[in-house]
């Protein structure tokens, strides 16, 4: 299973795409493995163009690409058979029921109408829209519309699911539901996932890998766990009660302290070990509840990469 997850499903090499004067993709090369991958980047970074290139909807000016071993220039239809795509926009036909919408999506993929209808019932149950399947789509809430698009994207049981901003405009409960569905599909159902979003916590909660784009170029790519490297000499620390003079004392000892709410970020000077923090806490009669080496957050990785670019 682990080997299968490491197999690349998307390989792009030196892909360039220009719209007039704007370079949407600039010699982009990346390899996306099976599993859940987050696609991050500021507005206009080329995420959507990259997705469209993978779907074979946009013909790149230069470069080559393979999706599931199929050429993005010549085998677009075969690629799209293996992919489910949930676009960012609403794009729902008015006047049709939810069940009709999903069944139609299945028929467009090549499913028999009876199969598509049966499958539509199944996936609507799965995404939690079973009770409203006979309601007109224009009466759905934003969260329901996102789940309906997800149902339409997975109706033909694709190997790869591409979600473009799937939690946009959703309330916290709906967002949580959508993330759970995406995570379940990627983790338990063996479906690879490309999750494009501006919301870093969403990406972090679902994806194992990230690809960060900016200006059409690849900035960072890799396993989230690996990218969140440990900062030597920096620690995250939380006390049971108010710190009192504790912060002042460790600062006097040469530590750099940054207070983030209840959390203290402490950078020890060279030559000092973290035991010093324990000793000082004992002297000041404060209780340490949490002490661990500091790791970069996804936000820091993202912002750092964008700033470097």
């Amino acid at each position: 299973m682990a080997d299968a997850q490491m197999q690349p499903i998307i390989e792009l090499k030196d892909i360039s795409k220009t719209y007039g004067q704007v370079k949407a993709l600039d010699q982009l090369s990346c390899v996306i493995p099976a599993g859940a991958t987050g696609l991050l980047g500021p507005n206009g970074s080329g995420k959507t163009t990259m997705i469209r290139t993978m779907l074979g909807l946009v013909r790149p000016d230069a470069g080559t690409g393979m999706v599931f071993g199929l050429d993005i220039r010549s085998q677009q239809l075969d690629i799209r058979r293996k992919i489910g795509f949930s676009p960012e926009d609403d794009c729902l036909f008015p006047g049709v029921h939810g069940i009709e919408f999903v069944a139609y999506a299945g028929e467009l993929c090549g499913m028999q109408s009876s199969d598509a209808m049966q499958r539509a019932h199944e996936v609507l149950d799965y995404v939690g829209l079973g009770e409203v399947r006979y309601r007109k789509v224009e009466s759905y809430s934003s969260g329901m519309k996102q789940r309906l698009k997800l149902a339409a994207a997975i109706v033909h049981d694709p190997q790869l699911l591409i979600l473009d901003e799937p939690t946009n405009g959703m309330d916290p409960a709906g967002r949580e539901h959508m993330l759970q569905l995406a995570d379940d599909l990627a983790t338990n159902k063996g479906m690879s996932l490309v999750f494009s979003s501006h919301l870093l916590p969403d990406v972090e909660s679902v994806c194992r890998c990230i690809v960060v784009l900016s200006g059409g170029k690849l900035l960072v790519q890799g396993d989230i766990g690996t990218l969140k490297q440990i900062h030597s000499g920096s620690y995250e620390l939380r006390l049971k009660e108010a710190p009192g003079n504790y912060v002042e004392h460790i600062t006097d000892a040469g530590c750099q302290v940054q207070i983030n709410g209840e959390m203290l970020r402490v950078r020890l000077p060279d030559g000092l070990a973290p035991e010093m923090l324990w000793r000082q806490a004992a002297l000041d009669h404060v209780q340490i509840r949490h002490l661990r080496p500091q790791r970069s957050t996804l936000e820091e990785i993202f912002l750092g990469a964008v700033e470097r670019s």
Partner: protein, 369 residues
Amino acid sequence: MPIAEQGYQHWSGRLSGHAWRWLAITHRGVQIQFRNRFLRYVLFAAWTPAFLLVCMLSIWGLLEQKSKWVSTVVQFLRFINPHVIAQPRYYRLDVWRLCYGYFMHVELFFSMLIVLIVGPGLISQDLRVNALPLYFSRPLRRIDYFLGKLGVISFFIGMVTILPAVIAYVFGLLFSLNWHVAVVTFPILLAAVTYGIIICISAGTLMLAFSSLSRNLRYVALFWLGFWFVSGVVSDVLISGHNQQLRSQYYHSAPVLQPSTGAPSGRLLSRQYWRQFHSYQFEAQLHDWRPLVSYTGNLNRLGNKLLGINDVWLKLAKLEPNRWRRSFLLMRFGGPWYPWYWSLALLTGLFLGSAGLLKWSIRSFDRMK
């Protein structure tokens, strides 16, 4: 919070090939259109001429058999030349051609009306709700999309042209009680079906091109109405003006045409001249380009050619003893008389233009939001 009451199941079915993928779009489009009550009324109304066609072909079949059932009906057919009534079998093909010609002429109006009801939203609505990603992110080519949309229009036009033509043909055969009739009249059916297909393709492509130009289906409907009605009205005005001009020219040139008659009586002279005027006018119509301005006029001209309507009127005109009467008959009932390939060229150009416009307006995701 449970994410699902029923777990996700993998689907093990097979996806079909690409060849008939457009049919899914047509199928869904037709289903949605049938929910329109007004469209159902129009379809119902459009079948009335089909009923008359069936009646006429059946009556002619009975007339050929000299059935006593039609003896009472014959008195209502006095507008038809007695020679024709006397030899129903000899004139069978001609009568069938004329019946189909009139039927298709009426159905052309209903076809345009149906295109007006069905067509405007086909692409326009997809553009408005930004639904194109739903199609093109799936294994679907642009040609499949266009064929699917064209199929929706074609289905409804076919319902009022091709389907009733076939049903009327079957009824006509059944009432003639002679299977030899099938062999003789089959080209008429073929011509009617071909004409129906031409209407489907021409009107369908044109409407899709209009529909791809705007996100507002009211504008699209106005485009279509303008193209259909305005082109017809402009053509009629041009023809009418031209006829007036011909009449005036003819009137002023009358003494030159017959200088030796002496003109004993203005009224008598006028009648003679006006009788000859029909021939003069008919000659002028043979190369008159003005009917080309009308979109439906062009479709009509092709229908006339396919069904051989003008040939029938030429044949029937020979039954008339007077030359001026023959010309009058040809002008009154036959025509248009300009070369049919003019219309074919114009409609082909219109089709190519529409296809080009479609290709341009929905080029690819490169141009989409």
